[in-house]
Assembly symmetry: C3
Homo-oligomer: 389 residues x 3
């Protein structure tokens, strides 16, 4: 029915001058790799003496801010009857389950069952390495032994006073990989034509490292005037005619699993610095929560940026809303088609796709996880063996 | 648990004087045959210079009315990233995808990718034969080579000035076959007792052709007075006592895949002429959109009908609402029971059921379509072979 | 990921002094046994000359109150086209389907098809034994031959004029077994700390019979004052200091499939008497409707209780709301984990769990029921045989 073949078949056909994808894995079924630090909440969401429930790839996690103000992270299920600990009561430096009062410390050890002797305390719950930086609470959801040596992300200019930072994000109903592709492919300016006017991106070339891909762009305005929101982002007015000498360079980089977008003027001043992470919420990783730090360099006359900030917020929200809408349509198409039918022609995006598969989690062992789905897969699995014999 | 056996078992028991159904196919799993012209939208829904998304049996289709006013139909998925073309921009006689601006003409050919040389244009998308008649946009969703010779439906009196036509329809959450059975079995007047009073239908006999079934009825009022809405439909007042000589004949015909209902007076004037089609929306065909053309013969004093029209609209809407409610309950019962447990005793309906199976699409080859479900079926399929060996 | 092992593994480890559970069945997949009398509606819900649709474990049942006032229960599906009979019309002592007017008497026999000769009447529908007591309509959903000898429940003090009875209940989205465990484990007073203050339950020991388990508790207030709602339940004010001589005894009993909670003062006056039943609604039994009769002994000065009744209603509703919330979280955890990971340490609850498995319905034969799910199971089933050969 569909004239365009699925990604893999096209690549093998070799008709396009793009990197060949050797993998047979569907990119939208590649789980994000858990052995990284992921932001799971804004600091302001976890109030002193309160617990807050979040999720990473289907795993419920409770973030607890104790009475002394420190934050710890545990599996968000009481060991007793599996109810969420985030509905519990913070008691000093511990969390007490709301149901029968079982109590856990920051290591997940059960330290009290009110109706049981202390000598018979049951097992506790899993704890997660946890760190608070730049207004974000990070958790290391993978192998805890790897947390100490794992690279903690550079959060860009969020703590540099020369910049003003907007913290933003939402739940988006798509696989995290669509987010990476959306931001990196600046040919999608057409989507934002109502906000940005008619802009043409020109790719200046790409670079690739072991765990990163990046690309540079310049932009030319094809028609219309520069919108004021965009001018704010750049801190100054730019030329509006094609090729009028605007030599700002935008660099977009996926340094797995994070993404950054920086804009530098020709005098190499960085006027905009975005750090962003996409955190899968459900086990199938078909939704993600986005955490973005958007830093804008303060102009000489400081208060100007503060005064114009609401307009910048409004402008970026509208752009983000359009992006959210389109990536959710991409996920919907994948759900309906049951496979990745994308027909990508832009080399940098094919490079990015390869990176996301390589650095992603290995395929799940069907028998290793607990859901009802996995058991069904397990029952069906032996078929292969049988038909081979 | 259920005293009544499923349809097939009963028929084989032979206890009822009805045509034996030889098929083992569940009627509610017979897909409508795609090699016919189906209305997918009202003309007024597709405005000049706009695109409009519709569905046929799970396939997304975009209807585009170009700047010159003609309508064409394409697969509603950009070949690039599968997002809906109906969110795009009509550009002269083409449609431009909203995301990266890929452009398609009326044949589905990709004629422009803004950031790619014209010599390297990728494959396009599927196009569908498309025709606009009587305020409806028809598409031929099956094999396009058959479209030219396929019979285009006779839309009844919709373009005859002696009649006034009401265009109506809604989404109904049931398999299209329930719609055919509902309209053809006039013994369901009991359902409309609050609108119609106590009416008794009498079947005068049925006829059957290769691709059609029809049945004639007369009606007798058992109690109560004729409602004014009904009088309007007939254009005059009729007797209200049983067998008082009302010899109007109602003929209901399924001429696959369409249905008509005509009422003729004893002097053979057709006072009412309904043409109706039921278009499956989802792949499982458990919802349909109904497109109806209800034509009423204008009385001698023309403006009378126009004046009374709102009342007729109200009356038919109430009838249709009751029908919609009951067929959705039928679909619900089928979903819960997982099979067709209907126990049909009315010969014309059994004839109709046989026709709908015979003319319907052949059973889907489980491995041929793309959804996640099909893959599961595919995995399970080999079992039969294995157990036979 | 989870530090606590599933129930069975822990028991086998034998580290806790609790009854060993020998079963391998997941308690949350044990269906309630159908060979008992279950309340399916309040009498007031089934008005004279009206029909009312209810469900038991996925089976639709219509309760019909005829013009003479008696109630009967039938399968809530017309034998003809499976639409719900509860949308029909009560006609004397019969129910007439709303669609084509097929008519059934209290035994489920089809007594009229308006357009068919009486000599050719089709099969009817299943009927259920039905009984009305204490404002509740009971149905026997299992083998009807066992209904006569099945023990009808003792509904406590609901018909004793020395008591005032509140009828309450709601739909709760969890397996019925969570309800039994919630009520029987009084260590969950911590959940109600905002309503009840800080109370400590002390278990006085448990008893077990063939089809019942019961446990006695006393309570001591650890902090705070007795709330007025609680005082009302007990009909008098009690001591508020720990061990101040309050010797009220609360006895909670699951007499399969019902549950009771009685509070007796030291002079053996029963001041509170609760009878409660949990009726599974869906086939998977993941929701239940609760029917409770809460009887409070009238104090010497009768009108006092009546005057305070709204406060008691408010108090019990708040308690019930908290319980409903937590058991729904338990069901949610089970759904996500796909198995019972409970780590129960309280002996009486392990006793109760064993009873609920023993008295529950035998495992469903996968091929015996009709839903689409069952067919899938049926297809997969042969695998076991194959791999053994």
């Amino acid at each position: 029915m569909h004239a365009a073949l699925p990604q893999q078949a096209q690549q093998e056909g070799g008709s396009n001058d793009v990197p060949t994808q050797r993998t047979t894995r569907d990119l939208r079924r590649v789980d994000i790799h858990p052995d990284h630090w992921y932001p799971l909440a804004w600091s302001r969401e976890v109030k002193r003496g309160k617990a807050h429930g979040v999720r990473f790839a289907g795993d419920p996690i409770v973030l607890v801010r104790t009475e002394s103000g420190r934050v710890f992270a545990l599996e968000d299920r009481c060991a007793h009857r599996q109810v969420p600990l985030h509905a519990g009561v913070v008691d000093g430096e511990s969390i007490r389950c709301c149901y029968h009062g079982w109590t856990y410390d920051c290591t997940g050890r059960c330290t009290d069952v009110p109706y049981l002797g202390r000598e018979r305390l049951p097992n506790g719950v899993r704890s997660y390495p946890c760190r608070e930086e730049a207004g974000l609470i990070f958790v290391f959801p993978g192998d805890p032994l790897l947390a100490a040596e794992a690279k903690f992300p550079d959060l860009g200019s969020a703590s540099d006073k020369a910049y003003k930072t907007r913290r933003f994000g939402r739940e988006v109903k798509c696989h995290y990989t669509f987010m990476h592709e959306n931001l990196m492919d600046m040919n999608h300016q057409f989507l934002h034509r109502r906000q940005m006017g008619s802009m043409r991106a020109r790719s200046l070339g790409r670079r690739r490292g072991e765990d990163w891909v990046e690309v540079d762009y310049t932009f030319a305005r094809e028609a219309g005037k520069q919108p004021i929101g965009e001018a704010l982002v750049f801190g100054q007015k730019r030329g509006t005619r094609p090729d009028d000498g605007n030599k700002d360079v935008m660099t977009i980089r996926t340094a797995y699993p994070y993404q950054t977008l920086k804009i530098c003027t020709k005098d190499e001043t960085m006027v905009m610095d975005l750090w962003i992470a996409y955190v899968p919420l459900d086990r199938e990783q078909r939704t993600n929560r986005t955490f973005g730090l958007l830093s804008i360099r303060r102009p000489k006359i400081g208060p100007l940026l503060d005064a114009a900030w609401p307009l910048l917020v409004w402008f970026t929200e509208r752009i983000f809303k359009e992006d959210r809408w389109i990536v959710e349509r991409e996920q919907e198409a994948h759900d309906r088609q049951g496979a990745d039918h994308n027909h990508e022609v832009f080399p940098v995006i094919n490079e990015l796709r390869a990176l996301l598969v390589e650095r992603g989690a290995p395929p799940r062992d069907a028998s290793a996880h607990a859901g009802p789905d996995s058991r069904r897969v397990h029952l069906i699995q032996p078929l292969t063996d049988l038909s081979a014999s």
